[in-house]
């Protein structure tokens, strides 16, 4: 048995159970494809994959339980630690920014949406001055556009809102 020196991360136990549920779901859905009427049925391999997922999730959960618990400072709870360490503000903000960027891509088009995204993201992460951020995002966007639109001739969304 090898030693795991890592401490349990906040939310790791829940994640393990979610993985188990997902494995069981895949296994049942695999079974439901054609009821596994023969060993070479279309659902056999998907069901097997789901089974392996469920079994390994069990092993993962067992190991997680054996780990030293996450270090939770006084006055904080697991949920709060999860938010602080596993999903810190930076990660959440960037994920949301990306989601917004994707939603804006089709209506506003690639140049506008990308510029706003780059500007906000660099301003948030890099914490430079407003002018520097403006210049960096414009420069980066110009480079990306030149390389991919002109050199690689990739089709980029032009946006229907300003047409």
């Amino acid at each position: 048995m090898e030693e795991t020196t890592r401490r349990r991360q906040p939310g790791e136990t829940v994640f393990g159970y979610l993985l188990l549920l997902f494995g069981l779901f895949v296994a049942t859905e695999g079974y439901r494809i054609d009821g596994l009427y023969s060993p070479s049925a279309a659902g056999m391999f998907p069901a097997l994959a789901g089974g392996v997922m469920a079994l390994s999730a069990l092993a993962i959960i067992r190991r997680t339980h054996r780990m030293k618990p996450a270090h939770i400072p006084e006055g904080s709870g697991t949920a709060r630690e999860f938010l602080r360490r596993t999903t810190p503000t930076d990660v959440a903000v960037m994920a949301l920014l990306m989601l917004g960027y994707m939603l804006a891509l089709e209506p506003f088009g690639f140049p506008v949406a990308s510029f706003v995204f780059l500007f906000l993201a660099i301003f948030y992460l890099h914490r430079g001055s407003l002018l520097a951020t403006l210049l960096i995002s414009a420069g980066t966007l110009a480079a990306v556009y030149l390389v991919f639109r002109v050199l690689f001739t990739v089709v980029l969304p032009t946006g229907w809102l300003f047409r």
Binding site: A57, M98, T140
Partner: protein, 501 residues
Amino acid sequence: MSEGLTYFLMSWTDPKLLLLTAAGTFAGIYIGAIPGLSVTMAASILISFTFSWDVNPALALIAGVYMGGVYGGSRSAILLNIPGAPAAIATALDGFPLAKRGEAGVAIGLTTVTSFFGGFVGIIALAVAAPAISEFALLFAPRDYLLLAMMGLLLVGSLSGESLAKGLYAGALGIALGMVGMDPMTAEGRFTFGTVQLMGGIPYVAAMIGFFGVSEALAQLHNLKVAPVKQNVSRILPSWSLLRRYMPLSLRSSAIGVVIGALPGTGGDIAALMAYDQAKRTVKNPSRPFGEGAYEGVVAPESANNAAVGGAYIPMLTLGIPGDAVTAVIIGALFIHGLKPGPMLMIETPHLFWFTVGNLTLANVFMLIFGLTGVRIFAKVVETPPGILIPLIMILSVVGTYAIQNSVVDVYWMLGFGIFGYFLRTYGFQVGPVVLGMILGPLMDTSYRRAMISAGDDPIAFALEFVTSPLSLVLTLAVTLLLLGQTPVWRGLKGRLTRQG
């Protein structure tokens, strides 16, 4: 033979291909060197950008990025003590101490030349072994493919993750994702939940970009505040006597690299660690103790990881089974261009094979040229702050995913996989096996069912076939050994891997 030579020289004589290979190698060195940008990430994004091209220029560019990227990681390992790529983890152990002693220039020169040497050994192995293996591979039965793919997933799952269970979960998850869509044998929908959109399957390039691009970028947000240490770089060209002294070790490490690279699933990162470990155990009088700036400590991993490049192409081109994560991505590119990697590839499209060999050789030469020049500018570029780099990776991931079929739905898939991949990484999973599973899943499924049908749907006859044919028996034993994973060599190595990582 003369035909092969013509194809070999194609990228050397066609100015466009020559330029693309050079550009790819140059970009690859920087991509490999910049912490946060990885070769797998770049290759997956490039596939979507190049899919409207002919297959040759696309492959030339990706081969250049691959060769350059595997080498490029060593530079930031030496100069900043941050391995730019997983393949350079072992290099940092002795490379950074060398830089601290003021020998960064010598270390870079030595790693460049030995990387070049290792790259050559890998390419020669590819040119010699692949034709032989692909002829042999025609004898493979479906069950052998199933076993080989299982071996690949088990290898990458057990060696690179925190535990075998996590590796297995990731691999099986990839297989399940690869099953989504219309079953190629019965045309039934699998995991489609009655929707038409899912009949075509999950767009795997979107999954690759999500897992390797966005999830990596999100994980990088944790180390925004790590400031790199600057180093002075002196003379780069290593002396002949130094090179001559380390040639035998370089050759030995390259051999390790080729074998590890050729094993399905394992690539340069594991090859480099194994070669470092081997050097540490066998070199009697190192120039300095290992870990304190031994030349041997940079020669061994750098020869091995570039040798693994040629090695990783062997199973990809002959069996259609990727040798590592990057070749898994390249298989995706070949599929998009309507090519089917496998034993028939060498018969149906022999030009593709010799073109690839010639192209890798060219990329290797460019790597040597670019590696020995331009180090000073290089140090500046590598210091690009992550606050600018991360948004850039995200833009490229979005554009790359959109470019495949001009679909925003793909982009949503990509973000979903990116966020899921972030949590997997946070809790000690590797995302490599997921992507490998997605590529290998359909192959494993059809191989399994063909083998089962040819055994008359009789599970006992099916199981017997795994031990009665000599080839299958060898593979079955290998898979069983891996699954038990209890051999002291592997466990010892794994312990060392986790400690170093």
